[in-house]
C-alpha cells in the first residue's frame, strides 16, 4: 500500500509556476510569507531550446509543438478537443506558457472593464482599469516591457522600461499603409528586451520568439521572476503534479495533494492555496477536487466553474510582397498593432471589436507547409510558388473579442487521463455568430491595408484552429457569489483561503493578448493577501 508523504506546512501554496504563479510567489515572498510552489513540469535549460538546434523547425512541429496533444510529453496532460474547433495551447514547465509565448503585451482598455454598461453585453468587471494600472506597471517592469508612449488608442501611461523593438522594413511598409488609410497603428508593446535589461540580453531578432529564448531576452518567468523569488526563499518544487486541493469539513483548503516524479502521493499542507494552473488547468483540478462539501467541484456553489471559457477568436490575412524584405528577420509577432476597430461600432452587425497584430514570416519549412500562406502546392508549380512566398510575407492577425457564453466550457473527460491517471479536461466550444461577423469584418479591412501596402497576392485564413493561446473565463470574478466563482480580489466566494490568479478569473477577454492583465491581477491579489490577510502569515 502506498503511503502519502506529508511535508511541513507552509503559509501560501501556489499551484503552477507560469505567468501568474510566479508573480504571486515573487510578490508575497517579498512581503515575508513562506511559500511553496508546485509545478508539474521541470526547468528547461537554455541549450535545450529549439533555436539552439539546426532542426528547430522540425522541433516546432513535434516535441516543441504549441499543442500539448501533439507534443505529448509526460509533463503534459492531454485535452479532449472533439467538441472544440479551437485547440488549446500551453506549455508545462517552470515558466509555464511564457516559455512558448510570443510576448506581445498590450493592455486592456478602460472600456474593457465596463462592457455591460457601455455595450449591454456580458458583464462589467468588479474593478476598473485605474485600479489595475499600478499593477500593470509593476508587471511590465518585472518582465521587461519594450514600447513607446504616445499611443492615441490607449490612455497615457508610465514610460516603458525599454524602447520599442525594431519594426524593420516590413513593419515600416505596413505602418505607412495604415497611415495612408488614416487608421491607427502603434509599435507593439512586447516583453522582449530591445536593450539589455536587468542582467538579461537584448533580442537579436532571431525570429522565433515562440520557442523559448535561449538568450534570456524574452520575458519568461523562469528567467524574469523565478530567480528573485527563489532568492527570497520560495521553494519551487518541480515534477509535482497536483491532483486535488484538499479541504476540511468547513470547505476551507488545507493544502494540496500531488504526485512526485516517482509517482508517490504527497500532501503539502498550507494556510492558503493559490491556483495558477491557467484557464484550463485550474478548473480541471478544481473539478477533480469534488468532495462532500463541494460535490460539484471546489468552490463551485455558483455552478460556473469551468464555464464561460473564452479563447479569443483568430483569423489571419497574409500579404505576399515582392520586395524580398526577408520578413523572417525580427521577433515573430512583435511588430505593430492596429486598434482602429477596437470598440463597438453601432453601424456594424456585431458588438465589441478586434485588434490587428501584425506578424512576420518564418523559416523554409513553415513556408512550405503553409503556416503563413497556405501550403505550397506540390509538383510542377512547387518551386516557383515557394520562391514567391519565402521571405516576403506580412501577416495581419486578427484578435477578436470573444464574449463569455456558459456553454463554452471545460469538463473532466470520463475516460482520458494524464500519465498519472488524473482525469484530463474536455473542452466544449462553439464559435458565436457575433465572433464570426467580427472576423469577417476584420478580414475585409485587413485586405484593404495589405492592398494599400502593395501586396501582390492576399490570402485570408478565416478561422484559426490551432489558436487557443489564451485561456480565460472559467472561474470568473464578480461581486455576486451566485454569478461568479471568485470575488474582486480573486478570493473564492466559498472559501476564504482559496485564491485564483490565472486567466480563469477573467469576466470578459477584451481584444488583446491577456498576459499583462493576468500578471497585473495576480500582483493585485498578492497585495490584497499581504494587506488584509495577516492570518495567513506565520
Amino acid at each position: 500500500m502506498s503511503t502519502t508523504i506529508t511535508h511541513p506546512p507552509t503559509d501560501i501554496l501556489v499551484l503552477g509556476s507560469g505567468a501568474s504563479g510566479a508573480a504571486v510567489a515573487w510578490r508575497l515572498s517579498n512581503r515575508g510569507f513562506n511559500i511553496v510552489c508546485l509545478e508539474q513540469g521541470r526547468w528547461i535549460k537554455p541549450e535545450e531550446y529549439p533555436n539552439e538546434h539546426a532542426d528547430w523547425e522540425i522541433q516546432a512541429r513535434t516535441n516543441w509543438a504549441f499543442d500539448p496533444n501533439v507534443r505529448g510529453l509526460d509533463e503534459d496532460y492531454p485535452i479532449n478537443v472533439d467538441e472544440s474547433p479551437i485547440d488549446p495551447l500551453m506549455f508545462n514547465a517552470v515558466g509555464g506558457s511564457t516559455i512558448h509565448w510570443t510576448a506581445h503585451t498590450p493592455r486592456f482598455h478602460p472600456s474593457d472593464f465596463r462592457v455591460k454598461t457601455l455595450d449591454g453585453v456580458a458583464d462589467d468587471w468588479p474593478l476598473t482599469y485605474d485600479e489595475l494600472e499600478p499593477f500593470y506597471d509593476t508587471y511590465d517592469e518585472l518582465m521587461g516591457c519594450s514600447g513607446i508612449n504616445g499611443d492615441p488608442a490607449n490612455p497615457p501611461r508610465k514610460e516603458r522600461p525599454m524602447p520599442p523593438l525594431p519594426i524593420g522594413p516590413d513593419g515600416e511598409r505596413i505602418a505607412k499603409a495604415f497611415d495612408r488609410l488614416g487608421w491607427h497603428w502603434w509599435p507593439s508593446d512586447s516583453y522582449v528586451n530591445s536593450v539589455p535589461y536587468k542582467g538579461r540580453k537584448a533580442c537579436n531578432n532571431c525570429g522565433n520568439t515562440g520557442l523559448g529564448c535561449s538568450l534570456g531576452a524574452k520575458g519568461q518567468t523562469d528567467v524574469a521572476i523565478w530567480p528573485e523569488a527563489i532568492k527570497n526563499g520560495v521553494e519551487l518544487r518541480t515534477n509535482s503534479r497536483v491532483f486535488r486541493v484538499d479541504t476540511d469539513e468547513n470547505g476551507r483548503a488545507t493544502g494540496a495533494s500531488y504526485y512526485d516524479a516517482e509517482g508517490n502521493e504527497n500532501f503539502q499542507p498550507a494556510k492558503a492555496v493559490v491556483l495558477a494552473m491557467n484557464g484550463i488547468g485550474t478548473p480541471r483540478i478544481m473539478l477533480n477536487s469534488a468532495s462532500e462539501v463541494y460535490p460539484d467541484g471546489l468552490c463551485n456553489s455558483s455552478g460556473l466553474l469551468g464555464k464561460n471559457l473564452m479563447f479569443h477568436t483568430y483569423a489571419m490575412v497574409s500579404g505576399l510582397f515582392q520586395d524580398d524584405l526577408k520578413t523572417y528577420k525580427g521577433a515573430l509577432a512583435n511588430m505593430i498593432l492596429c486598434q482602429e476597430f477596437y470598440e463597438t461600432d453601432q453601424s456594424k452587425a456585431f458588438v465589441r471589436g478586434y485588434t490587428y497584430q501584425v506578424a512576420r514570416s518564418s523559416g523554409p519549412i513553415s513556408t512550405a507547409c503553409g503556416h503563413m500562406f497556405g501550403r505550397v502546392p506540390w509538383g510542377a508549380e512547387h518551386h516557383a510558388q515557394f520562391a514567391r512566398r519565402f521571405s516576403d510575407v506580412t501577416v495581419v492577425g486578427v484578435i477578436g473579442e470573444d464574449l463569455p457564453e456558459e456553454h463554452n466550457r471545460v469538463e473532466l473527460d470520463p475516460d482520458l487521463t494524464d500519465s498519472n491517471g488524473i482525469p484530463a479536461p474536455k473542452v466544449y466550444y462553439e464559435l458565436s455568430t457575433n465572433s464570426r461577423k467580427q472576423l469577417d469584418d476584420a478580414i475585409e479591412n485587413a485586405e484593404k491595408v495589405l492592398h494599400e501596402a502593395g501586396a501582390a497576392q492576399i490570402l485570408a485564413t478565416p478561422f484559426l484552429k490551432v489558436a487557443g493561446w489564451h485561456l480565460m473565463g472559467t472561474a470568473r470574478m464578480g461581486d455576486d457569489p451566485k454569478a461568479s466563482v471568485v470575488d474582486r480580489w480573486g478570493q473564492a466566494h466559498d472559501a476564504d483561503n482559496v485564491f485564483i490568479v490565472d486567466g480563469s478569473v477573467f469576466v470578459t477577454c477584451a481584444a488583446v493578448n491577456p498576459t499583462p492583465t493576468i500578471g497585473a491581477l495576480a500582483l493585485r491579489t498578492a497585495d490584497y493577501i499581504d494587506r488584509e490577510r495577516s492570518d495567513l502569515k506565520s
Binding site: 472600456s111 491607427h184 535561449s214 507547409c369 521571405s391
Partner: protein, 154 residues
Amino acid sequence: MPDTECKISDADRLVLSAVMDLIVPPVDDLPGAGEMGLAGNAEELAGRIADYGEALHRVLEALSLDPSARAEGGFVALEEDQRIAALTALESSMPKYFDKFVDLIYIVYYSDERVHRHIGWRSGPLQPLGWELPPFDPSILETVSRREPFWRKA
C-alpha cells in the same frame, strides 16, 4: 507494403523516392527530393513521429493498391502523367493523410543544406547569430502621433 512500425520494404522505398521526385521536382542544379536521397530521412522522421508514420504508411499502402499501378507492374513503372494522376487521386480521396505526407516530404526537403543554399537560407540554428535589423526609428510615428487620443472613456 510497410509494416506497422513504419519500416518500409526496399520496393516501397523506391516508390517513396519516386513519389518524392514528383512532390518536389528538380530545380536548377538540384535533383528532385527523391533523387537527392531523402527517402531515408522521411522514413526516419516517420518512424519517430506517429502522425507522419501513419500518413506515410497509408499513402504507400494506397499506392500499392492503386489498380493502374498494379496492372502496370507498380507505381515506378507508370508514366509520369499516370503517376501524377495517381497522386492527385489520393490527394482528393484521403486528404488528411496525403497532406500530412506532403508535410513530411517538405520537412525533410527543406531541412537539407543543399536546399538551404539554393533558396538563400542560412543553415543551422537561429542562435547565436540572430539577424541584424536597424533599431526603431521614432520618426515613423510622425503621422499617427498627430491623431487626437480616441480611446473610449469608461
